[in-house]
């Protein structure tokens, strides 16, 4: 993403602040110092505390101070000890530890920190209860001398409770810096000189932003590429600047006001997710689709998913989302808390949050976010019996636990006759999903996490409805994790509208179903971490709509199982693959020539990594006319054979404009590398990461 929040928030005018904080951190440890040192950074929302803290953590000087371990945890509204510890562990090791209890978690954290000099960033802390901090503090004192903690908060009180040194008060951004930040966001390079009239108006707009960088960035990006003076004036003269009373930055309101209506709605629906939630683009799009927010494109080739991703991109370029991370298969991002506040304030008619303090809902509530399922089951449900038939989406943030949780949950499903989306964001104690779910005939989006807690695993659930999968004719997106050895025929293969299929973390899976040809609309297929997978069905070659194929981390898989054995009988295939990635497939000895040849007119990007036993580049590569990018990494024999000019396989690949072997550009257009416009061509960031907590996900229209 070229124009995103991150490209602007690159800390204009914060060098001095950064230096001072680094000096505080770099001061040598003296006996008698508090251990660990806790440095709070305090300031109102939108000043750039988090950006500053992150840039400090990434700074070279800090790095040379030899922190053995750097961690980051966003604490936000809920300061439950368990969750904070979980987040810290996840940041340190990547493990989610959903099934450990508090004692085990604490022990684990101690082991991780033990004797290590660490740097921890606790972001956006709101907890003013000193007791809670006193419970966490001893756990964090197991590190080596000189460990440091940075805390960002809006509250002086928090700083007083947690800090061991004087808090760093982040001031407003200087007027001059605000101006240069604004111009950087608002003008294309070299354009500023052409529009002296706009520069003047811009200055007045910046003054109204009251030196808050978040507001400045938002206003700047709003006006990016707009050269009509009227438009600039309408922003400057907006009455929203004067509007008082709800603590939301006026600049953000103006940004919102300027969104087209369909994006406004999509943005407001994001307030159903908790603060600091990390959105995944594919999931958010499915959620929007479930709620009917995405308009069918007039271009028949543009599917709803594509339109949705376009909406996401628009919202990112207008800085409604930030912290954007492109993971190749999927991208993730967050919403600034002030943006979240804005969305919640505008959506308060239709959205309700149930917490231990609030269990009210109104007749107009259509979307529910449940932080405290206990209050919800025992206070909200009995108290407002008539307000549920119109509810369309419900998300449980906490774990649903307790002896009666299953019946409670089941009872609650009965009430929601028009539910379109159901999310259980945390693990729940009941063993199998209640049968009642079948009565929710409007349900389009179903998401539950950490299926491990359903001891019979997701696939059991699939089996329960194995006959029914084929009835789910509207299913478009499925992320499947299973303990089974095989996928049954007549299941997934019957889903004719299916667009995206992810099969991941299936350690026992040996074969996929043979009837893959039934997936007549499949466009993206990801097979990831299937350690026992031996073969792929040949029917994959029948997927003529498939555009993206990712096969990653399958120890046993031999790709050649896709190919027909008797070569004489092959009919020429016509496939439409654009991107193919094979990563870490040690059991594969050769590349599937028929598959690649079949995509001769479409394949643009081909990446082979960690396949040391592939002997040679097949001849068909020579025929791939559209191929723009070839990357080979950690493939010992291929590396030799692809050496520029002298390698045996060089003649087969020399027509490709961009070739990278083990990080070195050897293609012809080396001078152009790095200036590519398309984000996914940025080959240095191709590691495919997954969020292991996205365990399963369905979109269904009909569940008999």
């Amino acid at each position: 993403m070229n124009r995103s929040f991150e490209s602007f928030s690159g800390l204009i005018g914060r060098d001095e602040d950064k230096e001072r904080i680094i000096n505080l951190l770099a001061a040598p440890f003296k006996v008698g110092d508090a251990d660990p040192l806790v440095l709070p950074i305090v300031g109102m929302g939108g000043l750039g505390k988090t950006s500053l803290a992150k840039s400090v953590c990434d700074d070279e000087i800090v790095n040379t101070h030899h922190f053995d371990l750097k961690m980051e945890a966003c604490v936000s509204d809920d300061f439950s000890l368990k969750q904070v510890v979980q987040k810290i562990i996840k940041s340190a090791t990547g493990e989610r530890c959903a099934d450990l209890d508090v004692g085990e978690l604490n022990k684990k954290l101690e082991e991780i920190l033990n004797g290590k000099k660490y740097l921890l960033l606790l972001d956006d802390v709101w907890n003013e209860d000193a007791q809670k901090w006193l419970l966490l503090k001893p756990l964090l004192s197991k590190g080596a001398d000189g460990s440091k903690i940075i805390v960002t908060t809006r509250s002086q009180r928090v700083a007083e409770i947690m800090g061991t040194v004087t808090a760093y008060n982040l001031s407003l951004l200087g007027q001059e810096d605000c101006l240069s930040l604004f111009y950087k966001c608002a003008f294309k390079e070299g354009q500023m000189e052409l529009y002296p009239n706009l520069v003047g108006i811009g200055k007045e707009i910046v003054e109204k932003c009251k030196q808050v960088p978040l507001a400045v960035i938002n206003m700047g990006t709003q006006l990016y590429g707009k050269t009509d003076e009227k438009e600039w004036k309408s922003v400057r003269d907006s009455e929203k600047w004067e509007e008082e009373g709800d603590g939301i930055l006026p600049a953000l309101k103006i940004s919102y006001q300027r969104l087209p209506p369909h994006l406004k709605r999509c943005f407001l629906y994001c307030s159903v997710f908790p603060q600091d939630y990390r959105f995944g683009d594919l999931y958010l799009v499915q959620f929007w689709m479930a709620n009917g927010l995405i308009h069918q494109s007039s271009n028949p080739n543009e599917k709803l998913e594509d339109v949705g991703l376009r909406y996401v991109r628009e919202l990112i370029s207008r800085c409604f989302f930030q912290d954007y991370k492109d993971r190749m298969v999927s991208a993730t991002f967050k919403m600034h808390d002030l943006m979240h506040d804005l969305a919640s304030s505008l959506a308060q008619n239709e959205f309700s949050i149930i917490s231990s303090q609030n269990h009210q809902i109104s007749k107009t509530t259509r979307h529910l976010l449940v932080f405290d399922s206990d209050s919800f089951f025992h206070k909200t449900l009995p108290k407002f019996p008539n307000n549920f038939h119109q509810v369309r989406s419900i998300a449980f943030v906490d774990s649903i636990v307790g002896p009666t949780c299953k019946t409670d949950f089941e009872k609650c499903l009965l009430e929601f006759k028009h539910l379109r989306s159901l999310e259980l964001m945390n693990d729940s104690e009941f063993e199998a999903f209640p049968e009642r779910i079948g009565a929710l005939k409007h349900l389009r989006y179903l998401y539950f996490e950490n299926i491990k807690r359903l001891p019979k695993s997701i696939f059991k659930l699939q089996n329960l409805q194995a006959l029914d999968v084929r009835h789910m004719i509207s299913l478009r997106f499925l992320y499947l994790t299973t303990q089974q050895k095989r996928l049954p025929e007549g299941g997934i293969g019957c889903l004719e509208c299916h667009q995206t299929l992810v099969i991941a973390y299936c350690e026992n899976l040996k074969d996929l179903c043979k009837d893959m040809q039934g997936l007549k609309s499949l466009r993206k297929l990801v097979i990831f971490r299937c350690d026992s997978l031996i073969s792929l069905p040949r029917s994959i070659k029948c997927l003529t709509t498939l555009e993206e194929l990712f096969i990653v981390d399958c120890e046993e898989l031999d790709l050649m199982t896709i190919e027909e054995k008797n070569e004489e009988k092959i009919q020429p295939l016509s496939l439409s693959l654009c991107i193919v990635i094979f990563d870490n497939l040690p059991a594969t000895l050769a590349l599937p020539e028929q598959l690649l040849q079949g995509s001769a007119e479409s394949l643009q990007i081909f990446i082979i990594r960690g396949c040391p036993n592939i002997e040679e580049i097949p001849d068909c590569i020579h025929n791939l006319n559209k191929l723009q990018n070839l990357e080979i990494r950690n493939c010992s024999s291929l590396r030799k054979r692809c050496r520029r000019a002298t390698g045996e396989d060089w003649p087969k690949i020399k027509h490709i404009p961009k070739i990278k072997v083990d990080g070195d550009d050897i293609g012809e257009e080396t001078s152009h590398s790095g200036s590519s416009n398309k984000p996914y061509l940025n080959l240095s960031y191709l590691v495919v990461h997954f969020y292991p907590f996205f365990n399963s996900f369905f979109r269904l229209n009909y569940f008999p």
Binding site: M44, S155, L172, L346, N349, Q390, K441, Y702
Partner: protein
């Protein structure tokens, strides 16, 4: 969120003088006046998607077979009439509280209409599945028998009529707002 706001207010009171400019916006949270303001309504967006849905229903076999076509046509007509003034109304809603309330009421009806249309859509999908994959069990066949068809038609017809009535009622108010 409310909790957070309250804490922010407390912070303001605890503020040292040097911190004052930092809370220039948060001070506004002390004024409760706009806290309960009605949210922006998206009636036009929803109406648009409803009209799209109704358009796709037109001429479909099930509408005729279930005798719903007259009801659906009337609903469409009503919606189109209201839809014509919606963009004007939405532009005026930020200045005119009564228009905002009117739009919110309308939105409620539109949501209910969407639920009914989705129910009809669902039923067609279900029949399609049964038709293509076949149902072997007698029990299942009985569920889809003609009596059920009639019951479904009556239920839907009734719901659509009630929505048309509610729309008419809301529609009659629009003349008060001078919308074009």
């Amino acid at each position: 969120m409310k909790k957070r706001k309250e804490r922010e207010q407390e912070n303001n009171q605890l503020n040292k003088p040097s911190m004052e400019p930092l809370y220039i916006f948060s001070y506004q949270t002390l004024l409760p006046s706009l806290k309960k303001k009605m949210a922006e309504a998206f009636a036009a967006e929803i109406a648009k998607s409803l009209l799209g849905k109704l358009g796709s229903f037109a001429g479909q076999e099930f509408c005729l077979a279930w005798g719903l076509e007259a009801d659906i046509a009337r609903l469409e007509k009503r919606l189109k009439a209201i839809n014509a003034v919606l963009s004007d109304a939405e532009q005026k809603q930020s200045k005119n509280e009564r228009i905002r309330f009117w739009l919110n009421d309308l939105t409620e009806v539109l949501y209910d209409a969407e639920d009914v249309l989705d129910e009809i859509e669902c039923e067609t999908l279900r029949r399609e599945v049964v038709k293509t994959t076949g149902s072997t069990s007698r029990k299942v066949r009985r569920v889809f028998s003609s009596t059920n068809k009639i019951a479904f038609r009556l239920r839907m017809g009734h719901k659509i009529k009630s929505i048309i009535e509610r729309l008419a009622e809301i529609s009659s108010l629009k003349s008060e707002f001078n919308l074009s």
